[in-house]
């Protein structure tokens, strides 16, 4: 069986930048008496690589995240290895 490695890429709005979605969700949650103090909304991308090497997968994921999945002017990203992903 050939291996499959999953890597998650979490893309969030840069801290200094206005998060319009987060603002609207936070507002509604507060109105509904759900006690959050802050809320931010971003994206989560799951990438699957046909490889045995987690290192190789992470490297490729990094390139993809940097060049395709995130807009560096307004977003930051983080790689999340998903060993036990479903």
């Amino acid at each position: 069986m050939s291996g499959i490695i999953r890597v998650g890429v979490k893309v969030m709005p840069r801290e200094v930048i206005l998060d319009t979605q987060g603002r609207a969700v936070e507002h509604l949650l507060k109105q509904k008496q759900m006690h959050v103090s802050h809320c931010r909304v971003g994206r989560f991308v799951e990438l699957e690589f046909a490889t045995e090497s987690e290192k190789a997968a992470l490297e490729q994921a990094k390139v993809i995240a940097e060049t395709v999945l995130h807009n560096p002017l307004i977003e930051t990203f983080e790689l999340i290895p998903m060993t036990n992903g479903r």
Partner: protein
């Protein structure tokens, strides 16, 4: 005094004034309802949830509006038999409120689409456009980014079998499953469509086919 049609506005609803005007063009009285209001169902002949971008369409279109206080009253009204119409974002809100089956997800194009579409009436609704015949055609405009109707296969079959499919597209614009453009609830009190009938009330708008949707509310007293 005949009852008015309640037009429900959420922050970000932007077809509210258009629907209000269309109801008036159809010779009926319209009245505003705000997202924080609770109301008595029997005061209204019918309720309409207009299109737009309630709560900015953030998260999922309609998701945040569906959790507004006014929806509790809409739910009660629907249960008591008041006809409820959702247009575009109103459709999304009704699905998110589980008052209608299915969900509306991003268009297959992943883009907003503004265009005229031809529709087929599959089953006429008992209040909105009640005198349309099955098989009749309508020309209405769409304007949405998340209008692709989705339901599980079993659910789709059930919708067809129980006569809950209201409208279908003749040429599928957005990837909707089985070309579905409008559906009804189990008890058929709640109905919704992605196209905008209020934008097709006069020949100069490009079509008058939207009139019938509102006009037939006359027969409800």
């Amino acid at each position: 005094m005949s009852r008015s049609v309640g037009v429900i506005r959420f922050p970000g609803t932007n077809c509210d004034r258009d629907v209000f005007e269309a109801v008036q063009m159809a010779g009926l009285k319209a009245e505003w309802l705000w997202h924080l209001d609770r109301f008595e169902a029997k005061k209204y002949r019918a309720l309409v949830l207009p299109g737009g971008f309630s709560f900015g369409d953030y998260l999922r279109a309609g998701a945040l509006a569906a959790r507004s206080p006014v929806m509790d009253s809409v739910r009660e009204a629907a249960k008591s038999g008041t006809p409820v119409l959702g247009i575009c974002n109103g459709f999304q809100i009704l699905c998110e409120s589980h008052l209608l089956p299915g969900a509306l997800v991003k268009n297959e194009s992943l883009r907003f689409q503004d265009e005229w579409v031809d529709l087929t009436v599959v089953n006429a609704h008992k209040a909105f456009g009640s005198n349309l015949k099955s098989g009749a055609s309508l020309k209405l405009p769409i304007a949405h980014g998340e209008g692709r109707f989705y339901a599980s296969e079993a659910e789709l079959k059930r919708l067809w079998d129980s006569g809950q499919v209201w409208l279908t597209y003749k040429h599928n614009p957005n990837g909707s499953l089985q070309n579905i453009a409008g559906v009804m609830s189990d008890d058929k009190n709640v109905v919704a469509l992605m196209p905008h009938p209020e934008r097709a009330m006069k020949a100069w708008m490009g079509s008058e086919d939207g009139q019938i949707i509102f006009k037939t509310l006359e027969s409800i007293l």
